[in-house]
Symmetry: C2
Subunit: 208 residues, 2 copies
């Protein structure tokens, strides 16, 4: 957690620091990202940086949390809260779509988590069980879908949940990495998503 001094800062200055950090971590992996660069781009001195943050890890943790939070804001909270009211595939589509919008609007930053997590020693410490949370969430959706008879009762919930999690990351990857897919044109992104959903739906929906 940043020190209180950081939170005492005027909004604008705080944002400038966050932006500079995002910029740097998007460009470099943790061990190459320079505090000096971040400080310079934020228009503060190195000393000030240490006034605000415990150390580099403190900053990175904070940045990752911000991103996670931001991503959450993209998903339709009503749907999540009332998940029983919606169909499984409907929910899946909505979640995937929100992921897409997030990726589109934060293209520069979605690589950060991956870059950071490439360091096994940071993995456990910083992100921990974030992925696990996603898997659990999908499992819950699958259980609901099964109870409603929407899904093939033979599916292995655990396995499919893992797939869905993995697929959603893949999707982001495809949209993010491929220059072929123009992020400014959400249409094409949606096409990709529909393809993905088609795979899944065909794979696990209940057959008559």
């Amino acid at each position: 957690m940043p020190k209180t001094t950081f939170f005492n800062l005027p909004e604008e200055k705080r944002q400038k620091i966050i932006d500079a950090a995002l910029e740097e971590f998007a460009r470099q992996p943790f061990h190459k990202a320079k505090i000096a660069t971040i400080a310079e781009n934020a228009g503060i001195s190195i000393g000030s940086f240490y006034q605000y943050f415990e150390d580099k890890k403190d900053l990175v943790k904070y940045i990752l949390n911000l991103l996670a939070q931001k991503k959450l804001e993209y998903i339709n909270q009503d749907m999540v809260a009332n998940r029983e009211k919606y169909g499984f595939f409907e929910l899946c589509r909505a979640i995937t779509y929100s992921g897409l919008r997030f990726a589109k609007e934060n293209a520069k930053y979605i690589g950060i988590a991956n870059t950071i997590l490439a360091d096994p020693s940071l993995q456990s410490e910083i992100l921990g069980d974030n992925e696990q949370v996603t898997i659990e969430f999908y499992k819950e959706l699958l259980e609901i879908g099964l109870a409603k008879g929407e899904l093939d009762p033979n599916i292995d919930v655990d396995l499919v949940a893992r797939f869905l999690t993995s697929l959603s990351f893949s999707l982001i990857d495809i949209v993010y990495k491929d220059r072929k897919i123009d992020l400014n044109d959400l249409e094409s992104g949606i096409k990709v998503m529909d393809k993905l959903m088609g795979f899944i739906e065909n794979g696990i929906k209940k057959r008559d």
Copy 2:
């Protein structure tokens, strides 16, 4: 490329160095991996290391090439050479299966490429178009499948090829990361694979 001195080394010693490097790069991302540790575990001096390799990058490139080569050896060369003789899904299964066997037998090392490539500055330099090659390969298989009428003519070859590539990485990921799936029991790995293939087949095969 390692210097000639490296290739003059007795097989055994060379292997020891490679093993030590694999070990270290599997544990640490590029910038944290220590030459000193590699040298020590290989039973050579740091000085010798620089007798054999230009620098750290030189070593990493070499190691990644070795892994890529090794992975290739796992796929059925006959099937690849005579790809027209086999069905699309048959080929997909075989390729995925070989990836699985590779993962099983090299569990420790399959994270290396990912870890290395998390560093954007190494990405282009070291791996470059390795992924592109995979995409192209799948595209070719898809074209053949289309020509034979095995596949839904409406699929977007480019997009599906990207998916297949991404999925194959996901599969490895799932098998690799999840402790739930016991790698010593290839059976369960095959089950995962069949699930995956089911998704794909249902998603893109020709319907009557």
